[in-house]
């Protein structure tokens, strides 16, 4: 059995190895940050953490002031009681799964992850097998099965192109770190300039500098947004002046949650694109089977019971690891 404690509503602590995974502060000697989404970042912005180079840059852009020891993917770090390896998680740029080998066994903590990986990440790779698998399950039901990226990108390009041709500004509602750049990468072949609001623009610059193709982009400008531009913005801006003032627009919502028809009327939008940066239900089951762990711990999920039900049919033991779910997709 894995020896762990939970930090209320945040991360996981492995006390024997003195390791904290996505924890909120200085609660273990070695703190690892899986990726730069807010719900995984430490709340204490001045502690020492380990992270990948890209995550370190994104964290600093989002206000982290502490000390970051940057690690390469798949090059193990030797600690006093464990050897830690980061694996590319395919979720957003820099996202890593954390592998911990110790005399208690081999544990893999996923953070958030996606396979097949998002094209604007370092890809996805994993250990052959593990003893304990701590996995997120944001989409833990058989109604979630993602279409391939290229298929969705093609539909998104068609949507944007048609809107522009008919004199409308295409607006893509998506989370400003990760999803936004993925969408921009998918739309880049159209050749139109994409505008992105405030904080998102700084994050795009990091993707661009690290060599990911996210097309031509510039900060949002009220004066030029209707001028053959594509607008990328989080869904929270739907009821804000920026979008309210844009009269001729076609709005698309890009998220794993776009699987649900009800999002259409809840958000009053024109098109739903169920593009997720989380693993889908079927890939999750396959991965659990491939890793052949003694125990799967399921976190970040509204429905651990359904995943457990299927895993037990495959003869894999599992249990929920109670942490507050956070919907950042």
């Amino acid at each position: 059995m894995l020896n762990y404690t939970l930090e209320r509503n945040h991360g996981i602590i492995l006390p024997n190895q003195n390791i904290g995974l996505d924890v909120s502060g200085d609660v273990a000697r070695h703190v690892f940050v899986s990726h730069a989404h807010a719900d995984h970042l430490p709340r204490d912005r001045y502690i020492h953490v380990y992270a990948t180079q890209a995550t370190a840059r994104l964290m600093r852009a989002r206000g982290f002031k502490g000390d970051v020891t940057e690690l390469d993917f798949e090059s193990p770090l030797e600690l006093e009681n464990a050897r830690v390896t980061l694996y590319p998680a395919g979720h957003i740029l820099g996202s890593a799964m954390v592998g911990i080998e110790s005399d208690e066994g081999h544990t893999l903590y996923t953070g958030d992850y996606k396979t097949p990986p998002s094209p604007v990440t370092e890809g996805f790779s994993r250990p052959e097998s593990v003893d304990y698998f701590i996995t997120e399950a944001t989409f833990p039901l058989p109604i979630y099965k993602w279409q391939p990226h290229e298929e969705l990108f093609a539909e998104m390009r068609e949507f944007a192109f048609k809107a522009l041709k008919e004199g409308f500004t295409p607006v893509f509602l998506c989370y400003n770190l990760g999803k936004a750049q993925e969408v921009m990468h998918g739309l880049a072949p159209l050749g139109f300039t994409q505008q992105i609001h405030g904080a998102g623009y700084e994050l795009c610059k990091i993707y661009d500098e690290l060599g990911y193709d996210i097309g031509k982009f510039e900060p949002y400008s009220r004066d030029t947004v209707s001028d053959n531009r594509i607008l990328i913005t989080p869904s929270s801006s739907l009821d804000q002046p920026m979008l309210r003032n844009l009269k001729r627009k076609r709005v698309a919502y890009v998220s794993g949650w776009a699987t649900h028809e009800s999002r259409r009327t809840q958000l009053t939008i024109d098109k739903l694109f169920p593009l997720s940066d989380h693993i889908d239900f079927f890939e999750l089951l396959d991965l659990c089977e491939a890793l052949n762990p003694k125990m799967v711990y399921i976190t970040h999920t509204p429905n651990p019971r359904v995943v457990s039900h299927y895993l037990s049919e495959k003869g894999i033991a599992s249990r929920p690891l109670n942490m507050e779910g956070f919907d950042d997709d």
């Binding site: 099965k145 009327t265 098109k271 039900h309």
Partner: protein, 572 residues
């Protein structure tokens, strides 16, 4: 002639899907009109319009596929080889829609894909499947039919097959009014004429056929075929420019009813157009002995004794009783009070103005001795308030204001009729359970079971017991906050329902309190809705069951003025 492939059910489903994804009624209407004009024969037009707006069967046919949503869901779970309780229910909670859940499972689950070979069913073949389902009585056999139907369909066809089977709207933001517009556009008919034909025939499909065949003028009213009732809007929801354009009547707290009579044939229809003739034999007998010329009256059924209109609670004892005993009709005698006339002397009267119809009603009722509501001229808003108070004193619900020049707008809720009502009351309750919403509220917890305190009540062991379920009256912002706050209170979960610790107090408004022996509290609230979420109150501030009982008794025994002066109706 129908173009090849135009009559396929899959095309119909694709069109419907595009409509659901389109914004704006004009765009939706155009898409459907375009589709209809490609259908070249009456049967396919009938089917397409019926499936889109009425269901598998015409709404006046009385026919139903009669297969419950649970049966469909269980059958789908088995088809997809998944556990119903653990997996299917969780998926339905997430989407808020059983048919959408089934569509996705049919797509995603390999076994469900392998079982199906889509075979381009025509609209006629799908109709035949519905007919077989309707004829089959046994549940097992119905499920077998469902399986056979699904084996021949794509996932989208299955989704809409299930929705059409459920009768009524497809829930894609494309309702009767838009369908009528699409029909009139497709076949270049007058919209009003299509609407009229719909009202007369009660069927969108038939109205579409008449439109296609240029026979809208033949749509005529027939006795003993009910027409949709004209409905009233709450006065608060509409702006009224000239109150003096309206007349006032007291609003009876009874049951809406349409009576069709000719000689010794008498039929009664309820608001949802179901026949209720046998439930009210004394009313039928009253009208039979009058031996009336063909007539259709719109009015209210009320319990009337001691020259006084009795509370709705007493009428409730008669509602739903298919064959009341003489004891029952003796104890709770029901009368019919007419307030509108829709047909007389072989002539429909819908198109006449209210004052015109009123003249006819008056002379008809006075000739044959039938009770009719009193009408009052409205001179000012102050006078409306006086009349309102008098109506309440009679035990009535409030006032109806009716526009003098309005026609009988069957099936519509506009501002020609306005209701002036006062909420029955409000109580402070706690949220006990949160239920996953469905349809457009899918994915949120939008329905709540509310409870009153019984902690000092010897009859109960519990602290709180449910008193009602509400799913409205809050804003989107409030609902968001509720969903956030309730997470802290979750103690248990049963499928789509969370059980919550008492923590959130809601001021619950309702229209009325009724005795209901089947509930733990013994009472239910009529039309409960959120008035305010009382973040400032604690569960210990909630009202008790005793408070509810007191309110009920007050309503039941409140003095009601008899009809000896200032009558609410004439012709006792």
């Amino acid at each position: 002639m129908t173009k090849p492939g135009q009559d396929s059910f899959l095309l119909f489903c694709k069109i419907v899907q595009v409509i659901s994804e389109s914004r704006g009624t004009v765009r939706k209407t155009d898409i459907f009109a375009d589709y209809l004009s490609g259908l070249g024969n009456t049967s396919d037009i009938d089917r397409a319009v019926r499936f889109a707006g009425e269901g598998a069967f015409s709404s006046v046919s009385g026919k139903r596929a009669s297969i419950g949503s649970r049966t469909v869901a269980l059958c789908a779970a088995e088809f997809c080889n998944i556990d119903y309780d653990i997996v299917f229910k969780a998926c339905r909670t997430a989407t808020g829609s059983a048919s959408e859940t089934i569509e996705k499972l049919m797509d995603n689950i390999p076994e469900a894909r392998e079982k199906r070979t889509p075979s381009a069913l025509s609209l006629a073949q799908v109709e035949e499947l519905f007919i077989q389902l309707e004829k089959e009585r046994k549940r097992d056999a119905k499920q077998a039919l469902l399986v056979r139907a699904w084996e021949q369909m794509t996932s989208t066809e299955i989704k809409y097959f299930i929705r059409v089977m459920g009768q009524g709207s497809l829930r894609i933001g494309f309702e009767a009014k838009s369908i009528i517009n699409a029909v009139s556009k497709a076949f270049s008919s007058d919209t009003e004429a299509v609407r009229y034909a719909h009202m007369i025939t009660g069927s969108l499909g038939e109205a579409a056929v008449l439109s296609f065949e240029n026979r809208l003028h033949t749509a005529t009213f027939k006795l003993f075929q009910p027409v949709a009732f004209m409905l009233a809007s709450p006065i608060e929801s509409r702006s009224v420019d000239h109150i003096t354009d309206y007349i006032a009547e007291e609003k009876f707290d009874g049951m809406r009813c349409q009576i069709h009579a000719q000689g010794d044939t008498v039929m009664l229809y309820s608001r949802d157009l179901n026949e209720i003739t046998n439930s009210f034999p004394e009313v039928v007998a009253f009208f039979k002995q009058k031996s009336l010329p063909g007539v259709v009256l719109d009015g209210e059924l009320c319990v009337f004794t001691d020259n006084t209109i009795q509370p709705f609670q007493l009428l409730q004892k008669r509602m739903g009783v298919k064959k009341p005993s003489p004891k029952m009709t003796g104890e709770y005698p029901v009368v019919f009070i007419a307030y509108d006339i829709l047909y007389n002397d072989d002539e429909p009267l819908f198109e006449k103005s209210l004052i015109n119809r009123r003249e006819i009603l008056k002379s008809f009722c006075d000739t044959f001795g039938i009770m009719r509501s009193r009408q009052f001229e409205v001179k000012s808003r102050e006078q409306v308030e006086d009349m309102f108070d008098r109506a309440l004193a009679h035990g009535n619900e409030g006032l109806m204001l009716k526009h003098k020049q309005s026609t009988y707008e069957y099936g519509q809720r506009r501002k020609s009729w306005l209701k002036v009502k006062k909420p029955g009351g409000s109580i402070d309750t706690v949220i006990m359970y949160a239920h996953a919403g469905s349809g457009k509220r899918g994915g949120t917890y939008s329905d709540f079971t509310l409870g009153v305190s019984v902690s000092k009540d010897d009859r109960y062991e519990e602290e709180f017991i449910p008193i009602g379920k509400a799913y409205g009256g809050y804003t989107d912002v409030e609902l968001k906050r509720l969903n956030k706050e309730m997470k802290k209170l979750i103690v248990d979960r049963f499928g789509p329902t969370y059980s919550l610790k008492p923590g959130i107090v809601v001021e619950l408004e309702f229209d009325d309190i009724q005795v209901n022996k089947r509930t733990k509290a013994g009472y239910t609230l009529r039309f409960p809705r959120f008035k305010a979420i009382r973040w400032d109150l604690a569960p210990s501030d909630a009202d008790t069951l005793m408070d509810v009982e007191q309110l009920y008794n007050k309503k039941l025994h409140d003095d009601r003025k008899p009809q000896s002066e200032h009558q609410s109706f004439i012709g006792i």
